[in-house]
């Protein structure tokens, strides 16, 4: 079952694939440049709301504020 959820709700150590990045053009572009594009696989390294979350994307560790993480929609991947 593939449910699309915001990245912010993904649990620690889970992986997912990006489906959509919502938000103003500036933010989408900025995220895209750092590697958050549709179809990219990401893994949550740290998540402790309401603080920022740490995500592994394309080999680098990127910290995202909660607001940003809410705008990235992902499909979780089964298993680790």
């Amino acid at each position: 079952m593939m449910a699309t959820i915001p990245l912010a709700m993904l649990q620690e150590n889970c992986e997912a694939v990006i489906v959509e990045v919502r938000g103003g053009m500036g933010l989408t572009r900025r995220l895209a440049e750092i590697g958050f594009t549709n179809g990219t696989r990401v893994k949550v390294l740290h998540s402790a709301p309401p603080g920022p979350m740490l995500v592994m994307v394309r080999g680098s560790r990127i910290a995202l504020g909660k607001g940003v993480a809410m705008k990235i929609m992902v499909n979780p991947v089964e298993g680790i």
Binding site: M25, R29, R30, E33, A48, R58, G59, R61, A63, G65
Partner: protein, 675 residues
């Protein structure tokens, strides 16, 4: 000698400064990009009879028109057309780094890739095939380990080789697929017709930027005769394309990187690293902030306690010099000028220099090891609630050492509103120059509670900074809204090299020294002047009668304003000179009593003069914490905000706040029954 210009570019954290230092021997000329607040670093490297002028461009992830850093880098490459651009790529982070590489290729810059941090990649269990990468991209690729100076010679050789190929533009096209390629071609061919434009800029790049709605490029092209034609084509194109062209193009670049390039060059696996292990603790929900506070305290101890003997050493040195001057120069005025003015001034400057350098050393270690980004991460939640950006906390931290470099450090905050807000509240962080004031007053009138009194000043500063930040956020329209969201890369942890840390420390420290140092030195001279003249009236026989000096006149003139706070003319004068540099406040008191600054008798003298009671003393401490930043800080505020409006606002709000707080302390205290 043949001269070529080489620009260095790359993502943040790739080791660019290390490469720069390796090439130039660490000798850099630091200035500013004209008209911008971005730092410009240049150096020279001579190799095989060729002189290479190395220009360090700001570290960026991309070359859009969105941030100053990116614009500066891009403009340099496009307008100045350096002979070679060295793109420093972090092997342990290849995908993201190649994004910038693609942008450079589109810009048709003459690039050489330095594949850096090979050692890190290897320790993580994988390798990148440099030859294959070179083949795919069509540019030279040199493997390097900058921290061990490996690959530097090959790099220099490659630069000279590539520079010989005189065509500064490389034809290398990235296919974006239909319908983009066609549209780009169409727009490019229109632009080609404008010879002025096409001779100066790569037209394909212009076309792509136009599609991405790049402000700067659009501005540029609007002046061209073919503008209307191009606009027509563009609106045609927009009908076919999706809304978000630039995101689509970004995705396309990444898909080429991950599907075409990566499979051919990446060999190995990616296991759990030391970094992730350490992050488990350092980013932990409950321990993250306490650990940060513990490290912060350690930094403080290091900065103040370990530097103490060096401070005393300088003090001793300059006192000695003063004595020598006094005994060897016959004319009393000249002797005083040299001993108290010049040596006194130099002494004052150099004394506080040690804590500053120690602070920068500590910060350089924290930054180069990679920890500082983690600190920003754990503090972000709190910072956000306070209306400040996560990255504001580093300038706040530095502010405890000195506000001048702290305010300069706000450059890493990208959104202007967040940055200015941080600058506005930064002076409330009690800098190291205010400590002598607290120590003096506290030991004079607070007796056994002296330590508590000093601590409370630091806490007061933090509390006020938080309150002001929240207040400004709510009330001033410019700051309305939330701080910009955090998007921050956390680099791998690394053991910082001694050399790079020292270079880092030196860069920041010497800049500060030049700026603040001169001002403080001049300030002391001014104090000397005003307190020594009119000469005869002040120097009657062997005693110094300060009441007759110009300073005293000034103090008495201002006294009425401060009477409600309980400050007498001496205190007022001291505060007045604190405007020039907070260090001078203690010195001013010392001069009043004809004593040395470090004299143990100063608290006693101050006590017996009855200048302060415990209550007014506390109010004075609070006042000196808040009132105005020293002139060096004001200068930096102006430079970093670029506007008189904000600078004057800072001065005004702080003066008001200082008066109000001191007044509250005195009034409240009197109500409870203190005098």
């Amino acid at each position: 000698m043949e001269k070529i210009r080489v620009a260095l570019i790359g993502n943040p954290n790739v080791g660019k400064s290390q490469v720069f230092n390796n090439l130039t021997g660490g000798r850099a000329h630091v200035g500013n990009w004209p008209g911008k607040t971005v730092e410009k670093k240049e150096g020279v490297c001579v190799h095989k009879g060729v002189e290479m002028q190395i220009i360090d461009l700001p570290g960026t992830y991309s070359l859009t028109a969105r941030s100053i850093d990116e614009l500066v880098a891009r403009d340099f490459i496009v307008e100045e057309k350096p002979d070679i651009v060295i793109d420093i790529v972090d092997t342990s982070n290849l995908e993201r780094n190649l994004y910038l590489t693609f942008q450079l290729l589109e810009l048709e810059a003459n690039i050489i890739i330095a594949l850096n941090k090979q050692d890190v990649a290897k320790s993580l269990g994988y390798e990148i095939d440099a030859k294959e990468l070179s083949k795919l991209l069509g540019v030279p690729v040199i493997s390097t380990i900058a921290t061990e100076k490996i690959g530097m010679e090959e790099l220099k050789d490659a630069v000279i080789e590539a520079a010989k190929v005189k065509e500064k533009r490389r034809e290398h096209t990235i296919s974006y697929g239909k319908p983009y390629d066609e549209i780009i071609l169409k727009i490019a061919s229109i632009l080609q017709k404008d010879k002025e434009l096409s001779n100066k800029y790569p037209v394909r790049w212009l076309a792509i930027k136009i599609l991405e709605s790049d402000e700067e490029v659009l501005k540029l092209v609007s002046k061209s005769p073919v503008y209307e034609e191009m606009k027509l084509q563009l609106s045609e194109a927009k009908k076919i394309l999706e809304e978000d062209v630039d995101t689509a193009l970004a995705e396309k670049r990444y898909s080429i990187i991950s599907e075409v390039i990566l499979p051919k060059v990446f060999k190995g696996t990616r296991p759990l690293t030391l970094t992730d292990l350490l992050d488990k603790a350092l980013l932990s929900k409950y321990l993250g902030i306490p650990i940060f506070l513990a490290l912060w305290w350690a930094l403080f101890r290091f900065t103040f306690d370990v530097s103490a003997p060096f401070q005393d050493l300088t003090h001793m040195l300059f006192s000695k010099l003063g004595e020598i001057a006094n005994s060897h120069i016959s004319d009393p005025q000249l002797a005083s000028f040299v001993a108290d003015g010049i040596f006194g001034g130099l002494g004052a400057v150099l004394t506080f220099l040690f804590p500053i350098f120690f602070l920068f050393l500590g910060l350089a270690l924290l930054e180069d090891s990679g920890y500082l980004a983690r600190a920003a991460f754990v503090m972000d939640r709190i910072m956000y609630k306070l209306g400040l950006h996560g990255r504001s906390f580093i300038p706040m931290l530095i502010g405890f050492g000195c506000n001048v470099p702290a305010i300069m450090a706000t450059r890493t905050i990208d959104r202007e509103e967040d940055r200015i807000l941080t600058i506005l509240v930064n002076p409330l962080m009690s800098c190291s120059a205010r400590l002598p004031i607290y120590l003096l007053i506290a030991s004079t009138v607070l007796g056994p509670y002296a330590a508590a009194g000093v601590y409370s000043m630091y806490i007061l500063g933090i509390v006020l900074a938080i309150l002001m930040a929240l207040l400004f956020r709510r009330t001033i329209p410019y700051f309305k809204g939330k701080p910009s969201p955090l998007i921050l890369e956390l680099p791998l942890y690394a053991v910082p090299t001694m050399k790079s840390t020292l270079v880092h420390m030196w860069e920041r420290g010497s800049l500060f020294l030049k700026k603040a140092g001169t001002i403080i030195f001049l300030g002391v001279i001014v104090v000397w002047l005003l307190s020594s003249y009119p000469w005869e009236a002040v120097h009657q026989g062997d005693t110094v009668v300060l009441e007759n000096s110009y300073i005293a006149t000034l103090g008495r003139f201002l006294e009425p304003i401060f009477r409600p706070l309980g400050f007498n003319w001496m205190a007022v004068v001291a505060l007045f000179f604190g405007f020039i540099a907070k260090e001078i406040v203690v010195g001013t008191f010392a001069t009043f009593f004809g004593l040395e600054e470090s004299s143990e008798d100063l608290p006693t003298a101050l006590r017996s003069s009855g200048t302060f009671t415990p209550l007014t003393g506390l109010a004075f401490m609070a006042f000196s914490l808040i009132y105005i930043p020293c002139i060096a800080t004001i200068g930096v505020i102006y430079r970093e905000t670029g506007s008189w409006k904000w600078t004057i606002f800072t001065v005004m709000y702080e003066l008001t706040l200082a008066y109000v707080v001191a007044f509250i302390i005195v009034t409240f205290g009197r109500l409870i029954g203190f005098t």
